[in-house]
Each structure stands twice: as C-alpha cells, then as structure tokens.
C-alpha cells in the first residue's frame, strides 16, 4: 500500500512512474502538454535550438498561443510572433493558434479540450496553474524549462507540500469566485503558498461552475503557489465530455493525506473584495473602497474573460451608461466567448453602455497594449496583478475585482457595488 497521498502527489507519482511520492522529493515527470506564448516562446525556441535535437518530442503535445501582444502591437512584437509562427509550421505543431482562432491561452486551452484531468502540464506563463480547475497538475515555468520540455517531453519537479482550503456554506449574493480567491490571497499573502500546491475543496467550491473554478486556480500563483487544484466532479466531467481530445484520468486525495496546513473558510464571511495597489494581497471590502475614482475599467483576461464573467458583467451594466470619465474595455478571452456574446446580445449590451469590445488578447492586463494607463491614472480590472506599472505608467494604479464590481464601477466612475446603481449612482 502506498502512503496516503493528495491528488497532486498522486498525479505526480503516476507521471514519474512511481507508486508513491512525498513532499520535497525531486522527481522527473512525463509531460502531457508544454505551453508557450508570444512573449516566452521566442526565448524557448532559441534555447531549443541549442539542445541539439531536430524535432520536438511530440508536435501534438505542444501548444503555442500568440496572445500577449497580438494582433501584433508593433514591429518588434510582430517579429516575436513571426518567430513562433515559423517554428510552429516547421515543427508541425498541432496546437498553434493563429490570430482569428487565437484566444487568451488559459481560457482557450480548456475550452478547446487540450487540457484535461490528471494531466501534468508545464507552461511558460505563470497562470498555467489555471488548469488545476480541471483536476490537472499544471504549473508555470520559464522559457528554458519549456524548451527542454519541448525537446524531451519531461521536466523535473520538487514534489510540493499541499495546503487545503476547505470552503463551506452559501456565498452571499453578489459574491463570486474572484472574491473567494482575493479573500484567500488577502488572508495568506503573496507568498503564503510559496512552493506549495493549493487544493480547494468544500461544498462552496463544488457549487461553482468551471469558469469560477478556473478563476480561483488561475490566481494560485498570486499567493506564490506552485499549483492550484480542484478534484473532478460531475461539473468537471460535464465540461470535459465531448470537449477533451484525450481520455482523462481522475485522481482524488486520500482521506488521510497529509497537508502542510488546512484552512477552514465559512463562505458567508466572504464579501465583494477589491485588491488595492500594488499587491493582490492588499485586499479590502468593496464597501470600503467607494471613494476611489477610476479612469478605466478592463473586463477580460485569463482570470475573468470567460462567457460566465461577461454574462455577470452584462447583467449589471444592462440599461446603464458608462460614466463619462471612464473608458470601459471589454475583452472576451476567446473567439468562442466573443461569438457567444454576440449571439446572446451581450456585445450589444456592452456597446449600448458605451464600452469598447475587443478581439481576444492579454493586452492591457500586462501593460502590453489595448488600454495602457497614463501617469497617475487608475484602473479597476478583472485581471490578476496590480504591481507597480503593471498596466502602464509606473505612477498609474490597478485595482483588482470581479466582473460585477467592474461593471458597476464603470457606470459609477468610482469603485462600487451593483447595488449602488439602484441608488442612482451617487458617490
């Protein structure tokens, strides 16, 4: 009998060809997918060339997504995207997504069924941890790790300790997945889960849809986590069914598995939350942020750019007009999200309110393009980071919140709640 293990330990053991693993153990795993984007792939491609292999290990198990500076922002970024395109064609990479079918990678790959439960995935993007929402072990790495992964199909890992977050009870109305994860990061800090796997459990998590689960696992890195993970259930199965391009494997933590720490969180104690500059852990209740005036609102990103996020924001903004001092930029994360928004009237709702609706891109989230802030400007965004200079000038500020708060704030011209709109929008 192997030792009792967590879901993370079981996935890693299976991919290392071992019966059991323990935290701290250094192992080498077979990979199911290696991911890179237009920022990280160019370095990975240069490093790959140094290794001395002609072909990638498996062209069906590499995903290259030009999403950060695309559609090309400038000549330099066009050269980077071109380098990736040339490599993808030469290596016959199956999962290369050109502009026109491209989307924000961590929304796109689950949607397209490229990632699934039980996988071990490395991605040269820190938010690769998103796929833990499907019951996979997925972690961000740098370009060199991605290069070696592309060449060998393997990567080394130190088996992480796991932290268990048990969230139980009913969420208050107006509280969503973004509030849960901001609450947790505010509680444990930006290095509160350093080197560790964050396992999210409890009936509150079980009631979340896949979009919400992806929002939570997406931000594990903002607590320093190596990965975030949620065990497979019927919601996960319904999502993967007919979508997943490979058979998936379900793993579950043993009842007697060992955790570094366990946090019990009563869902009813979580309120609509906003992270103030300049750390995602700098959280406060939205109700205490109502005096913060804003110049821009961004709804989108790998954190909150899925259809459910758009629907949540549209429901709030419907019939209202964006505040004259605010630019509202709505960026569906994938072509499918954009198309569904159009078919269901969401695009009209946003445009009627005075929003700019854009083709998919990471764009403003990382201060790339499509909504850069001038000196001293403030944005509220559904994105994941609010570091100094993240969305533009080093003196600009980014506040992080969920889609409903973002939509309400765009109308109010200041940070606020949807319920503030019913009071006539006064500050």
């Amino acid at each position: 009998m192997p030792r009792p293990m967590t879901i993370t330990e079981k996935i890693l053991a299976a991919h290392a060809g071992l019966d059991e693993v323990a935290p701290g153990q250094l192992i080498e795993c077979d990979l199911d997918l290696v991911l890179a984007n237009d920022v990280t792939a160019p370095i990975a491609i240069k490093e790959f060339a140094k290794i001395g292999v002609e072909r990638v290990w498996d062209p069906a198990k590499i995903a290259l997504v030009p999403d950060h500076y695309t559609p090309n922002k400038d000549i330099k970024s066009a050269e980077q995207a071109k380098m990736m395109r040339v490599f993808a064609r030469a290596q016959e990479i199956t999962h290369y997504y050109e502009v026109g079918c491209m989307g924000v990678e961590h929304a796109l790959l689950p949607e397209q069924g490229v990632v699934g439960a039980g996988d071990v995935i490395i991605g040269a993007d820190s938010h690769t941890c998103t796929y833990g929402a499907l019951g996979a072990f997925a972690t961000g790495v740098g370009s060199t790790d991605a290069a070696v992964g592309m060449a060998t199909g393997r990567a080394w890992f130190k088996v992480p300790e796991s932290i268990k977050f048990s969230i139980t009870g009913q969420l208050k109305p107006g509280v969503g997945a973004k509030d849960i994860i901001l609450h947790i990061i505010g509680m444990i800090g930006v290095d509160g889960a350093l080197y560790q796997a964050m396992e999210f459990t409890g009936d509150t998590i079980e009631r979340l849809d896949m979009a919400g689960r992806m929002t939570i696992c997406n931000m594990a890195i903002e607590a320093g986590g190596k990965s975030g993970i949620i065990a497979v259930d019927d919601t996960t199965r319904a999502y993967m069914e007919g979508r997943s391009e490979r058979p998936w494997t379900e793993y579950f933590s043993d009842a007697s598995a060992v955790y570094a720490r366990t946090y019990e969180i009563d869902a009813a104690t979580i309120v609509p939350t906003v992270a103030f500059p300049h750390l995602p852990s700098n959280t406060r209740p939205v109700s205490e942020a109502r005096d913060v005036k804003i110049d821009q609102v961004v709804i989108g990103s790998c954190t909150n750019g899925r259809y459910e996020d758009m629907a949540e924001a549209a429901a709030v903004i419907k019939g209202h007009t964006v505040h004259p001092d605010v630019r509202l930029i709505v960026i569906p994360a994938t072509q499918q999200v954009f198309r569904d928004m159009m078919h269901n009237g969401l695009t009209d709702i946003f445009m009627d309110a005075g929003a700019a609706v854009s083709t998919p891109t990471c764009g403003p989230c990382l201060g790339g393009h499509m909504g850069i802030l001038a000196a001293g400007e403030r944005a509220l965004a559904t994105t994941n980071r609010n570091f100094v200079g993240r969305m533009g000038d080093p003196t600009s500020e980014v506040y992080l919140a969920g889609p409903a708060v973002a939509a309400a704030s765009a109308v109010l011209g200041r940070i606020g709640l949807p319920e503030d709109l019913e009071e006539g929008g006064q500050s």
């Binding site: 250094l26 920022v39 990280t40 160019p42 370095i43 240069k46 490093e47 140094k50 290794i51 001395g52 292999v53 950060h68 500076y69 922002k73 400038d74 330099k76 970024s77 980077q80 991605g123 040269a124 993007d125 820190s126 690769t128 961000g140 790495v141 740098g142 370009s143 060199t144 790790d145 290069a147 070696v148 060449a151 060998t152 080394w156 130190k158 930006v190 290095d191 350093l194 080197y195 890195i221 320093g224 190596k226 750390l279 990382l366 201060g367 790339g368 850069i372 980071r385 570091f387 100094v388 200079g389 993240r390 533009g392 080093p394």
Partner: protein, 165 residues
C-alpha cells in the same frame, strides 16, 4: 564561483514587472532588456550598477510572471549574484536554468546595507560583508540542482541527456 561587488538593497516582494516591465517584453534581446532592469522600482539602477555588483532583497524576490527575461535582465545588467530571504518559485527555477547565481540567506540580507562591499563564495555558500567584517553561511542547493548548475544550466544538462540517449 567567487564574486565581489557593491550591494544594492531592496525590500520584499520585488516582482518581475518591476524587474523588467512588460512594455519591454516585445523583445528578448538580453542587452536591450538589461537597459530597463529594475526601472520602475529604481530608475537609477542600471546607471549605478558596476559589473559584479550584488543585488540584496527581502522575501519573495521575483514574484509574479514566469518571464525568463527577469533573470536575464539582471544578469546582463551586470549583477553577479542575488541574495534574498526567499525567492518566488518560478524565478528560482529560471535563475538556475539561465545561470544567474542566487542564494537564500536571511541573516546575510539583515546584515548587509546598501553600498556595502560584499564577497560571495557561491561554491562554499559563504557570504562576507567586507565593510562590516560579518560572515554568513547560505543554505546550500540540493544536490540535484547543484548538478544542473555544474553542468552549465538546464539546456546543457538536457544536451548531455539527449546526446546519451
């Protein structure tokens, strides 16, 4: 590996966006990246760093993005070694893979001020503050990681592996 240089001292949670802002990520040219290293945290950084200088910071150095441009920018700006109380995990991995020496040593961080002359013996894990005379011992790398470093980084290690296969 032995380095001597002047210490440049920073606080906790130095993130990859201030190490190399995303507005410069439309290139992967190391020398161009180096020109903007630490720009949003300390605009005078690249002007004052002399080759071999040492970067000292508190906890969680390199948090945020997976951009390998961060250790590359630091290395090409002339920094010989980063000493921190702790490192964010992707940065830690990227530093090892790209050959930027890093050391975890909370005592040394507390015992080094900006402008101090510091000598680091990376192989022995000994950090000496030449200005104050204080000597600190850093936590050694696990043997597995030491092997990667000794082989010259992850690509060199992989080269040996695919060559042997």
């Amino acid at each position: 590996m032995k380095f001597t240089g002047t210490a440049h001292r920073y606080g906790r949670d130095v993130d990859t966006d201030v190490i190399i802002p995303a507005r410069y990520l439309n290139t992967s040219d190391p020398d161009e990246l180096a020109l903007h290293c630490m720009e949003d945290l300390d605009a005078g950084f690249t002007a004052k760093v002399q080759p071999g200088d040492i970067l000292v910071a508190e906890e969680n150095f390199g948090c945020g993005s997976s951009r390998e441009h961060a250790p590359i920018a630091i290395k090409h700006a002339g920094i010989s070694v980063v000493i921190a109380k702790s490192f964010a995990r992707i940065f830690y991995r990227n530093a090892i893979n790209t050959g930027l020496p890093i050391m975890e040593c909370p005592e040394a961080v507390d015992g080094i001020s900006a402008g101090d002359r510091v000598t680091v013996d990376a192989d022995a894990g000994i950090i000496t503050n030449e200005t104050t005379g204080a000597v600190f011992t850093a936590q050694p790398f696990p043997p597995f990681i030491k092997d990667i470093i000794e082989m010259g980084g992850l690509v060199e290690a992989a080269k040996k592996k695919v060559g042997a296969a």
